[in-house]
């Protein structure tokens, strides 16, 4: 068990600056998820921690050792790959035993550890099979087993669930979480799926274009996104954005565009006072909007027209038109409405987000 410390890490290929000055501390026994769209540098960062990719500048520490120049085998880590990377010519048992054999463990100890891991993962019956005789989920378990028999200091996961079908993915996600609770090994997990990130991570690192956008606990990212990118990336369905101009009327701060005219409560208004006369981005999550009876206007509601109704069962998503823009509203599954109906939407002032028009950071 150990912490992982990443200090000012950079990776440059010939033309591309893939990872730009990443700083990150992964605490002992912590499960940290790196998440971001493809090409954001998350996998490259993970591969630099693993030693599979050379470091252009900066340091990677595992425990208290700088491992920059250590080959992968000397870093005491285990990695699970997206395509499982099982050795096709070896049985499940030999796949799991390979790392221990390479490290010259005694035969009884290898046997004991493989049995133990197989027991944890429920793959005792397949030990003699070859990888090609296994299903996707079983292969995934073997890949996990191969990692845990080594009792490494750190687990590295590179999108391990991406090749599984949706149902199995949810199931394996739960098992991974249980496994981590049981073993308590420090883990770094890379994914492009924000649901995986939110459910698995003790902390989540959102990356984009080689830069860390925000580091925090899942709900912290959800409730207080640091910028517009994080706000839009975390949460499903995604947050609604609307460009508004900030104005002052009778001492109150208003957010105005062609479809809405919001009078903000004093506390919220104070935050925006410095932006009077400027254009900012308003963000509101679909679940923080609600349909209210028409007519009354308390300054926090606006009209909208239903365009599409998506019935998901547990909730209904309404795609509505607000002015010339579009928004998504999540409502109760019992709600009765039809396409082209006029609605009045109210928003929860406590759950409003504003982002600077130019820098896109949260206000």
């Amino acid at each position: 068990m150990a912490r992982v410390l990443i200090r000012n890490l950079n990776k440059k290929y010939d033309e591309v600056h893939a990872v730009k000055g990443v700083n990150l501390e992964i605490r002992d026994r912590e499960f940290v998820v790196l998440v971001g769209p493809s090409g954001c540098g998350k996998t490259t960062t993970l591969r630099m921690v693993a030693g599979l990719e050379s470091i252009t500048s900066g340091d990677v520490l595992i425990g208290d050792t700088v491992v920059n120049d250590l080959p992968p085998m000397d870093r005491d880590i285990a990695m699970v790959f997206q395509n499982y990377a099982l050795y096709p010519h070896m049985s499940v048992y030999d796949n799991m035993a390979f790392g221990l054999k390479m490290r010259k463990f005694a035969r009884p100890e290898i046997e004991r550890r493989v049995r133990e891991a197989a027991d944890i993962l429920g793959i005792e019956d397949y030990l003699k099979r070859k990888p090609r005789q296994l299903s996707g989920g079983q292969r995934q378990r073997v890949a996990l087993g191969r990692a845990i028999v080594r009792h490494p200091q750190v687990f590295l996961f590179d999108e391990p669930l991406s090749n599984l079908d949706a149902k199995l993915r949810v199931q394996m996600r739960v098992e991974l979480k249980k496994l981590h609770d049981r073993l308590g090994t420090t883990a770094v997990y890379v994914t492009h799926d924000q649901v995986e990130a939110m459910t698995l991570g003790d902390r989540v690192v959102v990356m984009k274009d080689g830069l860390v956008q925000q580091v925090g606990e899942p709900l912290e990212l959800y409730n207080r996104p640091a910028n517009r990118f994080v706000a839009g990336f975390i949460g499903s369905p995604a947050m609604n954005f609307a460009k508004v101009s900030v104005a002052e009327e009778n001492g109150a701060i208003c957010a105005v565009n062609e479809g809405m005219r919001l009078t903000l409560p004093p506390l919220l208004g104070a935050r925006l006072r410095a932006h009077v006369g400027q254009e900012v981005t308003l963000g509101i999550r679909p679940e923080d909007l609600s349909v209210v009876p028409g007519g009354e206007s308390d300054g926090l509601s606006f009209p909208a027209v239903v365009e599409v109704i998506e019935r998901l069962g547990s909730q209904i998503l309404l795609d509505v038109k607000v002015g010339s823009g579009a928004m998504v509203v999540a409502v109760e599954p019992t709600m009765q409405t039809k396409v082209r109906e006029q609605l009045r939407l109210a928003l929860d002032a406590q759950r409003l987000h504003f982002f600077d028009g130019r820098s896109e950071t949260a206000i």
């Binding site: 599979l52 395509n83 990377a85 390979f98 390479m102 191969r146």
Partner: protein
């Protein structure tokens, strides 16, 4: 399989296939029938009333026995086997290492080197033997098996390298990366993970290299001169054709026996080399 009426299967499948098979097998049949035909039938003019070129009613082994006892055929077979085996082993060893390096290691000029190796393979042997003859003379290797063992790799190594390079590229990189994280050095990862997976590729490269050197003619003709050093392909030709006299019976018996080892190897490894050519690695 072709669907539809029976006649369609005959017309589009069985008939063309049979024609093709007959076309391919006829030379072997001709070799066989000629080698067991007595001389008096072989040299009968085609205008003779009892001329029957595709059949014999008096089969004999006299050509085979005379080939084995009166010529150095067994010696030639041994020479060929030795030369083909050693040059194949040398080429496979170099080809595996070069193919691996070109497909996996990132180094300067890797691409250029790969293309360069391929271009050397394109230089025809009929040109290359002239400068090579000079080199063989300078090293005083003429008329020894080593003249061939050292020159055959000039076309076998590029061949093996390219075949194996493609094969190594098809093996997922993660397998090796995983092995290196598991505690293997690059060498051990290559030895325990990549090599066993690449066995079909290595075997098919070996089979082709062996066949190429077994059948090679021009270098063997140029670099070897004494009868007891010759290989089968040259020996049969030069010792059994005297001026304008062709000893057809022995010639064909030699050709037939000379193709046995290659046919044997092919039939033995056929599954491997089909897998090697189609290059399928499943993880």
């Amino acid at each position: 399989m072709i669907e539809g009426a029976k006649w369609r299967r005959w017309v589009y499948f069985y008939v063309p296939l049979s024609v093709f098979v007959l076309w391919l097998l006829f030379p072997f049949y001709w070799m066989l029938i000629t080698s067991v035909r007595p001389d008096r039938e072989l040299y009968r003019p085609w205008t003779a009333p009892n001329y029957a070129p595709f059949w014999t009613s008096h089969p004999t082994l006299e050509h085979v026995t005379s080939l084995l006892t009166e010529t150095l055929f067994i010696r030639w077979m041994a020479n060929t086997l030795f030369i083909a085996c050693v040059s194949t082993l040398i080429s496979l060893f170099c080809g595996v290492l070069a193919g691996y390096a070109l497909s996996r290691l990132k180094f300067r000029f890797a691409g250029t080197l790969g293309t360069g190796i391929f271009i050397t393979y394109l230089v025809p042997q009929t040109l290359l033997f002239i400068p090579l003859a000079n080199i063989i003379r300078n090293f005083e290797l003429g008329d020894t098996p080593w003249a061939l063992i050292l020159t055959y790799p000039t076309f076998l190594i590029p061949f093996c390298t390219w075949l194996l390079m493609g094969y190594f590229k098809a093996i997922p990189r993660e397998l090796e990366e995983c092995a290196r994280i598991d505690g293997a050095t690059r060498w051990k990862a290559m030895l325990y993970i990549i090599m066993p997976i690449a066995v079909p590729g290595i075997l098919s490269a070996g089979i082709f290299a062996f066949t190429l050197s077994w059948n090679e003619y021009i270098y063997a003709l140029v670099f070897l001169s004494s009868a007891e050093q010759k290989t089968v392909s040259v020996g049969v030709n030069s010792e059994l054709v005297r001026g304008d006299v062709f000893f057809w019976g022995q010639l064909m018996a030699g050709a037939l026996l000379g193709s046995v080892p290659v046919a044997f190897i092919y039939s033995f490894f056929v599954e491997y080399y089909v897998a090697g050519l189609t290059g399928s690695v499943k993880g």
